[in-house]
Amino acid sequence: MSKEEDNAKNPEGAWAAAGFAVVLLVVGVPVWWFTTTVYRAQLPYSTIETLSSQLRHHTVGVTIIGSLPPSFQEDLVKSLGSMQSVKFLMSQRQPTKEERQALHSGKTPDELDRHMSQLVRVAAGMLAVVVLPEAMEIKEVVVGTDRLIYIKPTADLQVVSSVVRNMVMDPLASRYAFTNRPLHHKKEAMRQVPTEPGYDVTLTLMVPEPHRTKIEWDARAAVTDYLSPVVKQLENVSKLTVRSQVLYMTGLSVSPQWSEAHKHYALPENQLPLTINAIEAKLGSFVWTRPSLHFVVYIPREKQLPLHIHAADGSPLPSNSFLVPRWGGVMIHNVPTAAPNVSLPRPVTLDSHWIMSTVLTHLHRLLPIPSLREIEGVETLAMKDSSMLTAWQLDGLARARVSAYLSNIRITLQSLCELVGEISNMVISDEVGGWVWGAVEEWEECGRATREGRLQDATLYCTRSFTQADAAFFHPSMLALLYFPDNQKYAIYVPLFLPVSIPVLLSLKMVFGLCRKSSTKEKSE
């Protein structure tokens, strides 16, 4: 008896086969489908794609107070127009009565600035150009501590325009923000610290011979006096956490030469690049993962006192300090040589003013804080009784950082989208999805704020956007390795499904054959 005949006489078998097939298709396939689909939160792909094409520029309102020849204003707009990513909105008004009085009463630039900055309130992110009466005996262009620029009607247009440009954004910082890659072969451009929401600042006092010199230095007071006001000012832009430490028995591995001409030990410039390597491991266990800045105050060993850094041309460097790009600064603090027969350790006090001035100099250059030092014929007024930054410096820094953030966020989000697009079965958790949505929203808010010139809002939005974009990008689940590549799926599913589906398919064929046979039988009857 053949198999088919057996089947034909056994319709229950056919029903069973059909039953298996139904169970497989109706239950099995949906269960497999639902258990193996990965969860992918919806992401704003199209918005992220258009991020790079979106216009982003800062708007800086410039009010001219006083009367200038109309051509001057036009020319100023024209020469400022060349600045990438910043749009200037010019307006002009006449000085009020009080302002006019203040202008005439102020004799020195400081006095003038003090009066004027009380009268003229300029919002964050804006600037005002005050035209001075011609008779005043001060420089052609004076930059105040607030957001005021004082010019004489005779001032050179080019000078005024470059002053405004440098105040608005540090030229190097703006280039850094708008190129995707570091500016190669440009030492200055590599100096700037990466744009991050916070930095760890560590002040290290290195005393290689504590048995000979007993250092008396109140680091806490020095930090409160000089650094804390600046840190507080910068709070909205980036958070600096300041710590200090003393390293004993650790010295710089340098071999200075006695310079007979200068009567001191000379440390040539070419020894400096390697000095910090040896101490870097000892500078502290880093707890935080955000960038750290180190400022090292080095007390030379007794037998190398006094120690002075010599520039390449052989002349001693007055500041006796050097800056290491993206890392911090090192300063050599000489102490007087010990008198004969002095009992050891001898107490030595340090010059807080010098140390903190150098630290702040380095900090200014690392961030970088805009300065007008390089422009000739300009007087820049600084805060009189503190180390604080002026309002326009803070604005300039914030503006540069907003630009850097915006381009960073864009790169991060686009790279993330590309990754997610390439790996189609990568899980996108709600957490990651939420961050991406948040980052995009804040990015757009920030773009709007910069266009409208609301600098403080822009800073806030982009810091938040940056944090969220980074959190999404670096989320541990966004790892291609965790997910099967598509081609490996077949290797898994084929051995799993073939043994089950082949008998089912074969029996289905048999069922169909049976149906056909029975229908032809009915027809023939």
Partner: protein, 415 residues
Amino acid sequence: MRLQELAMIDGGYWAQTGSLGVGEATWRINMERVATALRSPWHTLGASYTLESGAHLSPPPPACSLRITARVRLASLVTSCPGPLSVVYDQGVSETSEKTHTNNWAVLVDTSRFWFNYRHVANVLSMYRSVKRLGIPDSQIILMVADDMACNPRNPRPATVFNNAHQHINVYGEDVEVDYRGYEVTVENFVRLLTGRLAPSTPRSKRLLTDDGSNILIYMTGHGGDGFLKFQDSEEITNVELADAFEQMWQKKRYNEILFIIDTCQAASMYEHFYSPNILAIASSLVGEDSLSHHVDPAIGVYIIDRFTYYALEFLERVTPDSKKTLAQFLQVCPKRVCISTVGVRLDLYKRDPSRVLVTEFFGSVRNVELTTRVLDLPKCGGSRQVAVNKSVNTRSSKATKPLHYASQLPLHHS
């Protein structure tokens, strides 16, 4: 040594390296005669010279070399040999070549465990020793070692790992900071490390905190095949995964340049799929070739180092932080006659000319420095608390000194 020969070879390109002879390094060179041969006053050669001591397992090569750096300084001198002595000019690069990076990182990975893979641990520790000696701080070296050979019970000389049977260099050194060890060395951890997608609780020492100014040296060793490198006998990383990880790093601006070195069988297959810019890849063997080990130490009973790394270490031992040796020279460290396998190099992704890139740009940490020419003119802050400048001698601290006493040595419990 005949000086005529010496002068004739004068100016020859750096080619032969590591031709040390066996025996005591007591050979003396007549400095005046060398100077005459080089037609320069002998003191410009530098009065001091260092004798490199140490020996190889291999029979003494027929030629010895005398190495003179670009500034005509006698840097190293090797022992007497029966054959002619050759002068090797270390031409170096011009001073004007500029660094394009601000900091250096190194990721050194040994992927295999068990005693018979002693050589891989020695390989990775050789690199660790070199980068550390050349100045990369431990905080910027990520060392992944899958097994602990130094403290293995089978190690007859505990706490040491040597690069040759004569115990020439103890690559284990005095302080080794292993960041990922044992079973932590996995493909997942490695890729996470590169891409930065680590758990938030990961400590700083286990993170690669690079930025767009970082040059990264990535060195890997282990057992590999065509297109993969085995991790720990249980898994492997493919060349595609590695290439994708590098691309992720590039997109997030996590490196400036990468020097990728891999010492494994069919090593060249690992860099085939790289597509991110600024990567220079060096492999110890081409696809289809085995990478061979150097020699057995009978006391240890296993092969103790691989050929490529052995010669690379030999080269790196002569590099000083301020040396002018270039990557082009490094690419020549293991010619086929000593390596047996062919060293593969991939240059198409790398923009700069290797002969103008210093070895220390990847193996060392030579920083840019900027002299501060002008200090900010700040007003004195803090008023009365401000101490006068350096009135140092005999200033008494105003605080009354607290009497010192010894702390109790044992914790006492008072009931």
